[in-house]
């Protein structure tokens, strides 16, 4: 619903700009889904978006407002790069270690604000945001100083091939990370709805006081949730390093962490919903390039779309129910 509204509004903006929105959206669809290569690109973008979306979703579900997926993603990328550059391990073991470490470091980076929030009520929105800036500047430091490529460019050297995520479809960038994202969504769905831990998470999210009376360790639950959240975002960072770039660089994430907030809300905080929302936003990002080429619509129109989607998600349904004759109070 929110998506339809947003696309319509942007459509009007295009008309005002003298662009035919139907042509533009057709080229967007074609750019995102037309042909194996385009579709693979969409899925490759959907992978990190789904992972950060899941990270945000599970935290929000527990009413921990984790805005730190961006920073946790960068920390995961650092861990993956370190493991890929320094460790020498045989073929299948190496990438598994890379995956494990990126999850672990992302989890640690999420656990810190999670624990401080649960135990001392330290404002997690502000703390995770500050930690984002710290992680991003730290990556920038790493690639310009200790990890600078011998050639002089401000990237890290290329990782050992054994630390790369295998490509699923030859001649595309569709890597194993997509599979990791899908598996994570399914796993998270099962955890949330089929385990006692999932029950606790939802209980804490609905009412921490009631959960505490019910004998649930609220601090422990919220801390673990944030560790899982950070770990998932860390995996997204690993996917960008091991699956796409094969090296660390500044700006490795074009806001995947923040876009994760939109993905999570669009997916109604449900893992399976998040998976589809991730694919949708991935399509939007990939399709926007095609739209620019075919219809002359600037890529940045996507930014407005994202903002509008978020806005309609927050207020749209309430506004609708008010104006559909359900309004009672003034």
């Amino acid at each position: 619903m929110a998506v339809v509204f947003s696309l319509t509004v942007v459509g009007f903006v295009m008309v005002a700009d003298g662009i035919n929105p139907i042509v533009a959206y057709a080229s967007l669809l074609n750019g995102a889904f037309g042909g194996a290569y385009n579709f693979a690109e969409t899925l490759a973008k959907a992978a990190p978006l789904t992972l950060t979306g899941l990270a945000v979703a599970i935290a929000f579900k527990c009413k921990v407002w984790n805005i730190g997926a961006e920073g946790q993603l960068y920390v995961g990328a650092i861990a993956a790069t370190w493991a890929g550059l320094t460790l020498t391990l045989p073929e299948p073991v190496h990438i598994l270690v890379v995956i494990f470490l990126s999850f672990l470091f992302g989890a640690a980076y999420g656990l810190i604000p999670g624990f401080l929030k649960a135990k001392f009520r330290v404002n997690e929105i502000l703390l995770t945001l500050m930690m984002n800036y710290l992680a991003i500047y730290f990556v920038s430091y790493l690639v310009e100083n200790p990890w600078r490529d011998p050639s002089g460019i401000t990237y890290s050297p290329v990782l050992s091939v054994s630390a790369w995520l295998p490509v699923l479809v030859p001649r595309t960038r569709l890597h194993m990370g997509v599979l990791i994202a899908v598996l994570s969504a399914i796993a998270l769905h099962l955890i949330l709805h089929r385990t006692t831990f999932g029950y606790k998470t939802r209980a804490v999210g609905e009412s921490p006081e009631a959960a505490r009376y019910g004998g649930i360790n609220v601090i422990m639950t919220a801390t673990i949730v944030m560790a899982i959240s950070g770990g998932l975002a860390g995996l997204a960072g690993m996917g960008e390093v091991s699956g796409i770039q094969h090296r660390l660089m500044g700006g490795i994430s074009p806001w995947y962490g923040y876009l994760g907030v939109i993905v999570a809300l669009l997916g109604k905080l449900e893992p399976i919903g998040v998976l589809f929302a991730g694919i949708f936003l991935g399509a939007l990002l990939v399709g926007a390039d095609a739209m620019q080429r075919a219809a002359g619509v600037p890529v940045t129109v996507v930014y407005i779309l994202e903002g509008l989607i978020m806005l309609f998600l927050v207020g749209g349904e309430r506004a609708l129910s008010r104006y559909m004759g359900l309004r009672r109070e003034r």
Binding site: R121, I125, L126, L129, E144, V261, L311, V314, R328, R330
Partner: protein
């Protein structure tokens, strides 16, 4: 040594101004019971629209008007979401933030193309206040600043006085503390929340334009670099009191000023480490202050939408 201290303090005052201005706005909104987490986005829009207006008209005043206008517009949106639709204020704020980033980036690339730092405007230059600017020490620190600095410093005691020593302030605070009681007493809860939220956002827009019109004199994407969030931290530390927020904002100002001075000294410290400094200080002080103070003295109805009849 004195020269250094004077220069450092003058820079502190200057650098703290946008954070302080946005913080004052947020205090007004939060006292009325509305948390606006979107101020980072509103600042960005204010920064761009202010710059754009000056770029087109070549009149610095038009930049202020544009920033005020776009701030008010975003405040209206925030009010509608949180007061009329009673949407979750935290998520509404995040939506405003993302919309602000999106709109400012889109508009700037459309108008200016992708030439970062390409176009300069004149903006606001320091004004030396006669006599006062010649006072030793205080003169160069306080009285050789630009007009927005003076305005912000004047707003601090003014906001404090209005909030805590006038009927209007009492009404605002009662709406934030006990909206139902206020409503019973005939205070229009909705109107006060609307006015305060819009006023707060307007100041955030102005604070954003400070960055493009009084500091950078050009537009850079994400020019705010988290200053809107720092303003929220200042509000939190200052317990929604403008005078305490002033101290908090100056503390951040010192950190920023030191960061630039250390950078200029060329001690071989990587610049990223220095750039991390304000965020590191914020994170650490956020943790320490919260743990030491423990209890939060927020208005009782902060973040809670008000409905006249329970449904």
């Amino acid at each position: 040594m004195t020269d250094f201290v004077v220069a450092l303090l003058a820079a502190t005052i200057e650098l703290s101004t946008p954070i302080l201005l946005a913080a004052i706005g947020e205090i007004i909104a939060e006292r009325a019971g509305v948390v606006n987490l979107g101020i980072e986005g509103i600042m960005l829009l204010g920064a761009f629209c202010g710059f754009w207006a000056v770029y087109v008209t070549e009149q610095s005043g038009s930049g202020l008007l544009a920033a005020l206008f776009v701030g008010a517009l975003m405040g209206l949106l925030m009010s509608y979401l949180s007061i009329n639709l009673r949407a979750d204020q935290l998520v509404s704020g995040l939506a405003i933030w993302i919309l602000g980033i999106g709109l400012s980036t889109y508009l700037s690339r459309k108008v200016l193309g992708i030439v970062p730092g390409g176009v300069m405007v004149k903006g606001f230059q320091p004004i030396y206040i006669p006599v006062l600017s010649d006072v030793p020490f205080l003169g160069p620190v306080l009285f050789r600043q630009n007009v927005l600095v003076y305005l912000t410093l004047a707003l601090v005691p003014l906001t404090w006085f209005v909030l805590f020593h006038t009927t209007v302030g009492l009404k605002i605070r009662s709406v934030g503390e006990a909206p139902r009681v206020a409503d019973t007493l005939g205070i229009n809860v909705f109107r006060i929340r609307y006015v305060c939220t819009i006023l707060g956002a307007t100041l955030a827009g102005l604070a954003g334009s400070y960055l493009t019109l009084a500091r950078m004199f050009t537009w850079i994407e994400e020019v705010t670099a988290g200053r809107g969030w720092l303003a929220i931290v200042v509000v939190l530390f200052g317990r929604r009191d403008p005078l305490k927020a002033l101290i908090g904002a100056w503390a951040f100002g010192v950190v920023y000023a030191l960061q630039y001075y250390i950078q200029a000294m060329g001690l071989g410290i990587p610049y990223q480490v220095l750039l991390m400094l304000p965020y590191l200080v914020t994170a650490m002080s956020l943790i320490i202050i919260t743990i030491v103070l423990r209890k939060e003295e927020a208005p009782a109805a902060l973040g809670v939408p008000y409905a006249r009849e329970e449904q």
